[in-house]
Symmetry: C2
Subunit: 352 residues, 2 copies
């Protein structure tokens, strides 16, 4: 039946922001989170600081969560899954399951905010031997290491002398099937490079890249300071393999600026893995009958200036559920989705 409620699926940064704004605009909100704790990737993947403002991730997410839990119009359901959606724009029925019991809520509009997962570097990129070599880690692993307060070589527990980032792992790669650029990995790697240089001042840090996609203010706020203040070494090059040698790692490839083969020793190699649709995005696009693109991200209305309206009336999607997105993108699109969801409910004549 007609409802002024907005159901938001996913309680990461995007879902938290969308829920808060929809409630501030007068709609009651049910915020569904599969995990037992809200906060999304910054909490569940133990992010240290957020890109690009170096804000402490736990602190930033705690503020976002507080804003939602303190709003009487928002009913936050953790440990809960969406099992079915019926009805149409203005009058959806959303089936929920938690702890073995099920129920349903009415909703005038739905916002999908189920986000991304990190590319698994074991999949078809065996040349980097992620699962074989303990000192080959991902940027997700590196966040945890940085957050722990002590950045050491995993296999030895010692302070590393040389650390390398390899960009575009699982992105811009036809063989893997992810032709898109994951947008945030250049920024995150540069942020981590600065953090590692601060934690281990004697370590040399290298970033091997194709193009450094430090767009907008990331250029002057991260990329220039990384080079000038923190002495991070950026090398345009392609890395083809990583091999163990005498307790260290040998990184082989080509320095494309110098036009010559390259073989350098490292203590830790960090793979800048890209974004893929999360399990939640895949599952929900099925339940909500949302078309996805060839990569599995949710399709939005492609030919209009609108990044949040899906092809199903009344269902909006924001953040990385629709494709690679940085935090600014996620938060802005959450705001747009909240505005459009509440606007749709108002236009259906339901009081908000």
């Amino acid at each position: 039946m007609p409802s002024n409620r907005v159901v938001v699926i996913g309680a990461g940064p995007t879902g938290l922001e969308a829920a808060r704004l929809a409630a501030e605009l007068g709609s009651p909100v049910t915020l569904i989170e599969k995990k037992d704790v809200p906060g999304g990737m910054p909490i569940h993947a133990d992010y240290a600081a957020l890109t690009h403002h170096f804000r402490d991730a736990s602190e930033a997410m705690a503020e976002m969560i507080d804003a939602v839990t303190s709003n009487d119009l928002i009913d936050i359901r953790t440990g809960t899954e969406v099992t079915a959606v019926d009805g149409e724009a203005g009058a959806f029925t959303v089936g929920l399951a938690a702890n073995g019991s099920s129920e349903s809520v009415d909703a005038g509009a739905i916002i999908l905010a189920t986000g991304f997962q990190h590319f698994d570097p074991g999949r078809e990129t065996q040349q980097y031997q992620y699962y074989e070599l303990p000192d080959v880690v991902t940027i997700a692993d590196a966040e945890k290491m940085i957050k722990s307060g002590s950045f050491v070589t995993p296999s030895t527990g010692k302070t590393p002398e040389r650390v390398a980032f390899i960009q575009c792992v699982g992105s811009r790669d036809r063989q893997i099937g992810n032709e898109y650029c994951s947008k945030v990995c250049c920024g995150i790697s540069s942020k981590q490079a600065i953090e590692i240089r601060q934690m281990v001042p004697d370590a040399r840090v290298f970033i091997f890249y194709i193009d450094m996609r430090m767009y907008g203010y990331w250029e002057n706020e991260i990329y220039w300071p990384a080079q000038e203040e923190h002495k991070v070494n950026y090398i345009k090059g392609i890395i083809t393999e990583i091999l163990p040698k005498g307790g260290r790692l040998v990184v082989r490839g080509e320095d494309t600026t110098m036009g010559r083969p390259m073989e350098v020793e490292m203590d830790v190699v960090i793979l800048a893995v890209g974004m893929e649709p999360s399990e939640g995005t895949t599952a929900m696009s099925g339940i909500l009958n949302l078309p996805t693109n060839k990569y599995g991200f949710v399709e939005t209305a492609h030919d209009i200036l609108d990044t949040v309206t899906t092809t199903v009336p009344g269902i909006f999607a924001a953040g990385a559920a629709v494709g690679p997105a940085d935090l600014d993108d996620s938060i802005a699109s959450a705001g747009a989705a909240a505005a459009k969801a509440v606007s749709l409910i108002r236009s259906a004549g339901v009081p908000v």
Copy 2:
């Protein structure tokens, strides 16, 4: 006095979207535009197609304008300037001037959407001789040429055989004072390169770049097709000067991948000029007492996950008024700003 009205300043894509959404959320809106016609840069600079969906710019903007002019809650004032702002969040008074007469409107919140202007390549980049050589144009000029339906060498009126783009003109440049990346120029140049290849199939098109910032889906939707289907030639290189020679242009610089000096002849050279704050952004930040960053863009609350809340309560800013932004950014931030403006008015207890 307390008002539920939102005043939106600037009727480009960002302002049009913010006005429409604020009205759909129930607030009366006054949309102020200095020029006599709404539509912003896509209309006033004669854009051909929008990046990245190749949508006809006039058609897309006509739809956005129709949505605003057909909404009874929106009072659109073209040929009108904001002369003063008094009051505080929830109860601003905005002074307006048009055709020699003045008046004022009350507003609960204000959204600044005054956008950017293209970098003037005559300023401190004389090595490219933009004002001396007729066949050296900007991406803004090239949009007009493409929109005209016939892409010719300006000095001769003949079909060009060789066309080059030079990236990062007025961006990523400490000497000029614009250290930031303008974010959109790589995408716009690539879009134009495709359009030129389609209009002049015999022409060879080159893009000289530092890093191709084809983030997210721009990679697979523009950058790959530009190379694979449209045979655009991307060359990592630095161009230091352009000289006239026998009716053509000699482009000199260094091919940084090949590590050698480069001297190539071109018929048309297109400078990928970046974004700077528009005159409107500069003027309005003064009138609204909004702090700006060192580049003159409006500062937003820097350490929170919010790209539209300024440091002055009740005043929001969206789109390129706060820094380099693509159309997706502009439209999403317009939605977020509309949501936050109406939310603020509701929280002040004014009925919406």
